[in-house]
Amino acid sequence: MSPQQNKTGKWRWPERLAGGYLLLFLLMAVVVPATGLIQHPYENTQSGPSYQPPYIFSFSTSGNSTNIYWLGTDRVGQDVLAILIFGARTALVVSLPAMLLATIMGVVLGSLAGFWGNSGIRVSVAACVLGLSGLLAAGYYAFCVRQVHWLNAFQSGTFSILQELGIAFTIFTGFGIIGWLLTTVAIKIGLKKTITLPIDHFVLRAIEITGAIPRLLLIMCLIAFAKPALVNVVVLAALTYWTSIARLVRGELLQVKELPYIEAAQVAGIANWRILLKQALPNALPPVIVAIAFGLGNLISLEATLSYLGIGIPAYEASWGKLIKGILQNPKAWWLVVFPALTLCFTILSLQIMAERLLKKLSPRQQQF
């Protein structure tokens, strides 16, 4: 890491602190629960005394207990430290896959819209008709025929939804291949009329429709229909977060597209998708990476807010937001707010600081400070 550091200047102390904290966060969220040293707070049958103040701050010589609650206990006597660690895992399990899904959706749609625009993609009428009917048929077989399985999956939550999604994906791919074969045959026969697909238009409308309702509201609405499960929250969050990434990628690609080297590549006869993947996208990525870092912070905050409100996050998952809620029942138990709030704020702040750092590193000319 050190040779790169010298290029972009030294790490200032807030940046070191943020990086160190994020490493600690990852360690806590991934490694500690896996080692089994600490039991999951809601599976721990032998709970301690309720509202035990943190060990560090308790000067009384109670000393009878074998367990030391470094950060105190909550209402039912669960260790706050254990909830913090498993809450970190929950935060990670929600935010990371959701951001990954949102990024994939956003980059694909954004690059379609930005790189090809309204006139870049010409499709033969045969492909259009066949594709549309194939899409309808695939939709029928993936959702209408399998609706019983889908309902079961949504009832049981977690991984059966992913399994159903996998089956649906297979069906769609199968129909895609059949459609492609039929299209090549149709073009060979002589159906060569083509039309342009206004992709940019479609994507912009989709962004506008998703953006017409405030994000938290949309997520709360959608969660009303689904069972409380982390996978549902992940999918729904991804469905509302892709727009910002798509808009960024589109904007960047619109600028990159006009640069001379892209035109040169086009003149050289390199396939468009190859130019997009090899030349254009890498140059559009820096703002996207920064947006991902900010988005992760947003999602962690969203997860905490949802679990605080008691919406969408299942009751058996440990979460920082749920821990914080405990203060409402006992305002004197300050440790229920201070520790989770600090970890939450530090995580978001560290992500923001690292995002700024990345921004500076990736585009040194655009320094704002």
């Binding site: 405030p214 409100l309 305002p331 004197k332 709030a341």
Partner: protein, 462 residues
């Protein structure tokens, strides 16, 4: 300009239609309606038969103008009541694809249920148990579990010496169920059938009312949705407008103060504080304020929950508002604290960029005081980004108000939404989505108009 605003408004209509239709269909697709949820809340004590009977009063309509279904399902399955039976039959039909056997099996089961009344040797308690067992078959999905349940019913009937004919019937049912799973013809499921239902369908009715502005009736308290929303909207509006005013007043003053040269040393500290405040989620700010300023454990300065007196007789309305102000203080302070860093940062940056411009240097060179330069010259020109912020900010404020209202128990849109989500009151949910979407788009249009008024040089590109 007018043309652009009109275009925006025209585009708004299909967007909102699409989203509200989506909510409508989702609410229909979810198993269990509002009524079921209410019954669930008021206890399971209500007998099952009563639940079944009350649903058949209303005529059942198809959901949409047309439907696509598998050939394995019969075309009138949507009329089947109650919903659990429909789902059960659909499951059997789609998994096994031989409708005649499924229908025969269903007929036997219902016959068993109905003839239960005429059994002479059975006590009422036994009848209830048996009826419950028969009914519970409809909620099963695994074929082995169903077979076991049928066997259990048969054993019970034999043990209690039910009439021979009745036990025979149960055996017939078992055989019929075996028939269903014996001849599975999967190819039958794969053939799609399209059926046209005409205009007398649920969506058509809902949409007709929707266009007329009638959003239906809340199933939680049987009031019209518009009335429910109007009652809550006033409070949300009050909070949003007050905090919006406070945020922008403070942000402008703060950024002008920060831009003064004399603040060189305190600037870094204030900016750092704002930066870290930006990462604190709103609900933590609100909760900290509640705990510190409104609980008996620490400083008890403000009332915690609710809105105070609704309306005081013999006093003008503004007096009521004055009484409500202490209740609103903490919510407004939390919203302001949560949004201030972002807005201040943006305005401060706009001012910083303007300070390098020629006209500012000219003004300074003329010998104008820093105060005049900042207030008259710079501020005017920083107005444009402020306008964009102002309206882009409104949705964020609404979202914030949702959390704040839930935490402080203020009867506004946010609290309404929370209750709606918890009780699955879908008509109200559609209404909230519609009105908040409207607010957001109208805010954008207002931004464009303000933009136009603030700077006539701008040509808006639609």
């Amino acid at each position: 300009m007018v043309q652009y605003a009109l275009k925006r408004l025209l585009w708004l209509i299909p967007t909102l239609w699409l989203i509200c239709s989506l909510v409508f269909f989702l609410s229909k697709a979810v198993p269990g309606t509002c009524l079921d949820w209410q019954r669930g809340e008021f206890g399971q004590s209500m007998s099952r038969g009563l639940v079944n009977n009350s649903r058949t009063i209303q005529p059942i309509k198809p959901l949409f103008y047309f439907s696509v279904r598998s050939k394995a399902e019969p075309d009138t399955l949507y009329r089947m009541q109650p919903v659990t039976h429909r789902a059960f039959l659909k499951r059997l039909a789609l998994l096994n694809a031989n409708w005649p056997s499924v229908a025969a099996f269903y007929q036997t089961l219902t016959l068993l249920q109905n003839s239960l009344v005429q059994l002479p040797v059975v006590t009422t308690a036994d009848k209830q148990v048996l009826s419950y067992q028969l009914e519970s078959v409809f909620s099963l999905s695994n074929k082995h579990v169903i077979q076991q349940a049928l066997l259990r019913i048969e054993n019970q009937a034999i043990a209690r010496h039910y009439p021979k004919a009745y036990i025979q019937k149960i055996k017939v049912g078992q055989q019929q169920f075996k028939n269903i799973t014996a001849q599975v013809t999967v190819s039958g499921v794969l053939i799609p059938v399209v059926a046209w239902h005409g205009f007398d369908n649920e969506y058509h009715l809902w949409f007709k009312n929707f266009i007329r502005g009638n959003l239906g009736i809340s199933c939680r308290n049987q009031l019209p949705v518009n009335q429910v929303i109007a009652e809550s909207f006033a409070n949300t509006f009050f909070i949003s407008v007050l905090s919006l005013g406070l945020i922008f007043f403070l942000a402008v003053e703060l950024s002008i103060w920060l831009s003064k040269a004399a603040q060189f040393h305190s600037r870094q500290i204030v900016l750092a504080v704002l930066y870290s405040l930006d990462s604190v989620p709103l609900f933590i700010i609100a909760l900290t304020l509640i705990t510190l300023l409104a609980s008996t454990s620490y400083l008890n300065l403000f009332p915690v929950f609710g809105l105070g007196p609704a309306a005081i007789p013999d006093e003008p309305t503004y007096v009521t508002w004055l009484y409500q102000l202490p209740y609103l203080a903490l919510p407004i302070i939390s919203l302001t604290l949560a949004s201030l860093p972002h807005v201040t940062g943006q305005i401060y940056q706009a001012i910083q960029q303007l300070q390098q411009r020629d006209f500012v240097l000219t003004a300074k060179a003329k010998g104008l005081s820093e105060r005049v330069v900042l207030r008259r010259h710079v501020w005017r020109n920083a107005l444009l980004p402020v306008i964009t912020l102002f309206t882009g900010f409104l949705p964020a404020l609404i979202t914030g108000a949702v959390i704040i209202e839930i935490i402080f128990a203020i009867p506004g849109m946010g609290n309404l939404l929370h209750q709606t989500v918890q009780t699955r009151d879908f008509p109200v949910l559609t209404g909230i989505v519609l009105y908040l979407g409207l607010i957001k788009v109208v805010a954008h249009i207002i931004a464009d108009i303000l933009y136009f008024l603030a700077d006539p040089r701008i040509r808006i590109q639609p």
